[in-house]
Symmetry: C4
Subunit: 254 residues, 4 copies
Amino acid sequence: MMDDVLFRELERPKLNRPIVVEGLPGVGNVGKLAAEHLVDELKAVKFAEIYSRHFPPQVLINDDGVIRLVRNELYYHKAKGKEAADLVLLVGDYQGLSPEGQYELSWSVLEALERHRPRRLYTLGGWGIGKMIETPRVLGAATNAKLVAELKKVGVTFSKGEPGGGIVGASGLLLGLGALRGYEGACLMGETSGYFVDPKSAEAVLQVLAKALKLKLDFSALHEKAQQIEQITSKLKDAEVPPEPKRENLDYFA
Amino acid sequence: MMDDVLFRELERPKLNRPIVVEGLPGVGNVGKLAAEHLVDELKAVKFAEIYSRHFPPQVLINDDGVIRLVRNELYYHKAKGKEAADLVLLVGDYQGLSPEGQYELSWSVLEALERHRPRRLYTLGGWGIGKMIETPRVLGAATNAKLVAELKKVGVTFSKGEPGGGIVGASGLLLGLGALRGYEGACLMGETSGYFVDPKSAEAVLQVLAKALKLKLDFSALHEKAQQIEQITSKLKDAEVPPEPKRENLDYFA
Amino acid sequence: MMDDVLFRELERPKLNRPIVVEGLPGVGNVGKLAAEHLVDELKAVKFAEIYSRHFPPQVLINDDGVIRLVRNELYYHKAKGKEAADLVLLVGDYQGLSPEGQYELSWSVLEALERHRPRRLYTLGGWGIGKMIETPRVLGAATNAKLVAELKKVGVTFSKGEPGGGIVGASGLLLGLGALRGYEGACLMGETSGYFVDPKSAEAVLQVLAKALKLKLDFSALHEKAQQIEQITSKLKDAEVPPEPKRENLDYFA
Amino acid sequence: MMDDVLFRELERPKLNRPIVVEGLPGVGNVGKLAAEHLVDELKAVKFAEIYSRHFPPQVLINDDGVIRLVRNELYYHKAKGKEAADLVLLVGDYQGLSPEGQYELSWSVLEALERHRPRRLYTLGGWGIGKMIETPRVLGAATNAKLVAELKKVGVTFSKGEPGGGIVGASGLLLGLGALRGYEGACLMGETSGYFVDPKSAEAVLQVLAKALKLKLDFSALHEKAQQIEQITSKLKDAEVPPEPKRENLDYFA
């Protein structure tokens, strides 16, 4: 029988009590965009692939016609210079499909990372507000009051009743189950319309995270994505608005 | 692999064959309101938290930005004065999501309580009747005829065909599975519209339960909640009803 | 952890290679009505109750206010006089809710009955044809051609393409899984509209089964139920049909 | 408890590192038609039946009234003459119902075939394009670039972004999980409208596969099926299109 969750270990890095950062698909793909940007910018090294029957029964095809099973991935980055800590980054194609699968996957990841004795977890996500927003705030929630206070200092907004329904999925469970296992952690949620993938919200989240982790990040790749999205969404807006009648110069009639 | 149901034991109280009272979310949240009121009024002590992958994959955020995983909780109260018995109270955020999860959770709670050799189970709930009601009756169902007779004496209504579809969820399963394990028990269901959370129905249930358990309870907290709800629902009613024309005193025209 | 399927054994009867007859809820409740009629008429003795987390999480309440968990039940009847064989009867409140639950329940029943080395399985059901029918045929399907031939002789209709979609649920699985375990068996399906519970179709099925099992059965209880249903359905028909205008005697106008 | 997946082994053939070909129900039933045609034409020998609680709880009835449980089946064919390799063919009534079931079934098949050390996997399917097509292309995806190049030579189209959503179900999972276990493989997808079973698309797939496997195949049985389908679909078209007015010869008016 296939294991519920199957780890394919590529390397066994030695890490010094790393900070774990999760960014999986979700509202506006904010968390996924942010964590993948981190992987790219830090040139983080993949050390494990996670397969599970709680993911969709699906393979993806790359541009050359080569397929791979849907999965999550673990990367690491050793702290350089003044950076706060070694990092483990959790990214991937999907979250678990069922509630039970969500629990099982988050639990398994925590178990697999136990040997590294993580010092903290950050989970990244989007907070859908149902309307376009110019300057997204980064909302937060944490496993203890001390961490709440600490994050306020780097610009995270803690706002009573936001988000109202709690945090659903891996970003919530990793913290909730993590707390049961003795880890502290926080969720950083970028405001987003929820209608499009939102690189701008991802950047807002990363700006805050970079401050907390003392990372220096280049955001130009996210800026490019943000521009692409804006071009698409502005076209959509144009398409929706009925074209205004052409205004010829009628001044001489006036 | 994560256990299906995970007990976090905070204390191991010595209880003298306690009576177990369950009140989890359901129709009108009658059971939950009633059991939580009991916890508050008796200043009952939490001795275990129950986590499970049969709950939603979700954390809740309190007003200070601190999160916790959704869960059920067990409280105890040692009998004082003339009270009938030590109590164990089961409250929580959710019931199991799937039928299998419902069975697993109820079974696990019964297993965990086995060491205390409970003398009886009371499960509390609402019975939705689809219309507003002034004086809710408390309907009952029990695992044996003797208990039916006993509960009639404290004001529980046993009415053929009410509720028609049986009892679904934890309030049913704890009794049904409990009976298989040798426990007697009863379900107390307060009539409720089913449209709103219903503190009045919760009080009706508790009035009956207090008589059965020889508890003295203060209901002012429930009264307050009831008033809040009534204010909201009466506003809703007003909003639906077109405003009547203002009636100035026109008597002198008559 | 609760067993997937939980047998509560009340008695361990000595049976001589019994024939197993299943009748659980389904189309027109034909199988359930037929098997329960058999239990009543033969005064069969209950020897096991089957509980499972694959059933709904529900207790039923009887007219006295006493509850019991939903379940299936096994009865036995020792052959008398010229009757063909000892019988085991499987009846109950529900079938499994999920496909996996259906498999698990049928498999568990077959395992539990293995010690009695059943000589044959009959599963009873309805075959919904979407219109009212005066004289329902009994359609059949069996695990081998010899049994098909045998059942044709007692009046079972084997008709190419009927039922088209195969047999779904316990009536199919007990035969299908039974065949894998070496048992032969047949499904007897009474034609029924599928709109109402159908005691007439249940009688048709039992008439055939009685012939096969050399049972003498009194059908008056089913006749009564059939009359009750007919009263209800004829009222419904009346309600649907607009009343014809009263035809006074207008002949003298002609 | 019933095994999740139950293999009924009929024979244990000695195979020389076979190539595995899968064709189960899916879009246009292209894969199923193709693989079953292969079974028929090669007179392949069944050596195992696969039953599972991840299939529907259903038995099928053949024209003689004899039933069998829904299943998948494994056939083998020993290479003759210039044929490329021994073959194992996987065909069946259904795919797994749930995502978890899909994973479990594909994993179990791979485990069961491990003893034969397959040299390659081909999974066959349809690629629904939502419109009727005269000459279906065969799209491909493979587990490595070398195999992509090899398949291009026998006429498989590898087209960026086709199919866009990856490959879902057994055709994807066998390759994805197979790759994790060290097998290479490819999926061959015949273009099809997706509205009807499509023997023409199945033939296109088989033409390519036959070239890759150096098989000589007779396609007349598929041609017949294709004609039957075309008769049905052309009737449907006629029924939809309003009849054109009869055009009598009006030339002499001109």
